[in-house]
């Protein structure tokens, strides 16, 4: 087994080790136990751990994990709290993340631990009513993003907004945007960037772009780390109701309310009503609470929940389209999606069919 001994620390006999890949399989149980002893749960999505280990007894005395650009499972043994060990593992974690190609890092923490991560160089972005603080390492990234948004700011009384994954773009999405465009002076449409959906971001974006180009008061924005991303709302992509977390939804809602909406002067956010999917309906509920909240530094944003477009007795949704694709029934899809999307799906299914035959 390959261990990477990063360095000796100036703490008596403590080594810092970076563990990832296959090594992590061997270490997982030990890290999990250490976390448990300190009242924390292991996160299965962590791909890399920085661990501080006592050289004498090989006990773990501190750890911190990386799930993409999110810092998780940070824990320092009681006897080392208040020492610099936390900063030593923080340094290594930041270095690892940046060497892995990330240019920003995020984390969630309780408000009482805010100070510690401030010492790691993180700045708080939003705090939920439940005291969950969302922090960012490279605050300039957010500032740059908001700056780029401001350049697309339009004047008008009613500025609308929609966030969509469009996995894939359906007539339902088109209907929602059309309704919003009719009610508002301008509508900003934000794509979800994360590439964990069935359709690739690149393809989703193209289909939305083609599907909306005739609406001249609609501005399409590429996805970012700050809107329904792996960072702001990890649960959105997991779709496991046990992991559904109001606090994470709240963070995403607050990011929109405090930073994105003011940058563009957004006054209304549109969502489709959600009768089926629990994660989405809970998210809508939290959105309403935080966007319309009368307190807070940024002006409130009205949430308009629109009844979804129906076809053949039930609502049109992207998941319905995907289900049909899975069963390879292509004809019924035609009624649910715009022409461009249909052509894309047809091509997609044909290619995968060919691949299957080939195999």
């Amino acid at each position: 087994m390959m261990l990477r001994f990063v360095r000796k620390t100036h703490f008596a006999a403590v080594s810092i080790i970076v563990i990832s890949g296959e090594d992590l399989i061997d270490y997982r149980t030990r890290i999990e136990k250490f976390l448990q002893n300190n009242g924390l749960d292991m996160d299965a999505r962590i791909a890399k751990f920085v661990v501080a280990m006592n050289d004498c007894d090989a006990n773990i005395v501190a750890c911190a994990g990386l799930d993409g650009n999110i810092v998780k499972c940070v824990c320092v043994d009681q006897t080392y709290r208040g020492s610099e060990l936390s900063l030593v593992i923080g340094t290594e974690l930041v270095k690892q993340a940046f060497q892995d190609g990330h240019d920003d890092l995020f984390l969630y923490t309780k408000e009482k631990n805010k100070q510690r991560f401030n010492g790691w160089g993180f700045s708080p972005l939003v705090v939920t009513k439940g005291g969950v603080t969302f922090m960012e390492y490279n605050k300039r990234k957010l500032e740059n993003y908001l700056q780029s948004l401001r350049s697309k700011r339009t004047s008008g009384k009613c500025i609308g907004s929609i966030v969509m994954n469009a996995n894939p773009f359906t007539k339902g999405h088109r209907y929602l945007v059309e309704r919003a465009a009719a009610e508002c002076d301008c509508v900003h449409v934000f794509m979800v960037k994360e590439d964990v959906s069935f359709f690739r971001y690149k393809d989703r974006f193209k289909l939305v772009k083609d599907g909306l180009q005739d609406l001249n008061n609609v501005i399409l924005h590429p996805g970012s780390d700050y809107i329904v991303s792996h960072a702001t709302f990890p649960q959105y992509f997991i779709k496991d109701k046990h992991q559904v977390n109001r606090q994470a939804s709240a963070v995403d809602a607050l990011m929109f309310r405090q930073y994105i909406a003011p940058a563009l002067g957004i006054s209304v956010r549109y969502v489709g009503s959600e009768p089926i999917d629990e994660t989405t309906s809970m998210y809508n509920c939290v959105l309403k609470e935080y966007l319309e909240l009368s307190t807070g530094s940024a002006p409130p944003v009205e949430l308009r929940e629109m009844k979804r477009l129906e076809c053949c007795g039930s609502v049109i949704s992207a998941s319905r389209v995907r289900a049909l694709m899975k069963s390879e029934s292509i004809r019924p899809i035609e009624a649910l999606v715009p022409k461009n999307t249909f052509v894309f799906i047809e091509k997609y299914l044909m290619t995968s069919q060919k691949q299957k035959e080939f195999l």
Partner: protein, 98 residues
């Protein structure tokens, strides 16, 4: 000096500073500084960084620093080390470090 990759040097430990430099073609020098002592020393930290970048002939770079109360000489050392790493150059030219 021509930067070809990300360069990281320093630590978050007290009296040190963590410097991350990123080349950005034609974008000039962009600094973002977070410091425990920003109020009193923010301007000094900025001046030291700019001076050292100039001496090394680095013109297009994004620099992100987290300062934990480092002395000027430590700031200088970390900036230089991050730049050398970003340039992929091993041999230090002490004549230009000033």
């Amino acid at each position: 000096m021509n930067l070809i990759q990300k360069g990281i040097a320093g630590t978050l430990e007290s009296s040190d500073i963590l410097v991350i430099v990123n080349p950005q073609a034609g974008g000039g020098v962009q600094l973002s500084i977070q410091s425990k002592v920003e109020k009193q020393f923010g301007a000094t930290i900025r001046r030291v960084i700019v001076e050292k970048l100039e001496a090394l002939g680095v013109t297009d770079v994004v620099v992100d620093v987290k300062d934990q109360g480092a002395l000027d000489c430590v700031i200088a050392a970390r900036v230089q080390a991050a730049v050398y790493r970003a340039a992929g150059v091993d041999k230090v030219n002490y004549e230009v470090l000033s």
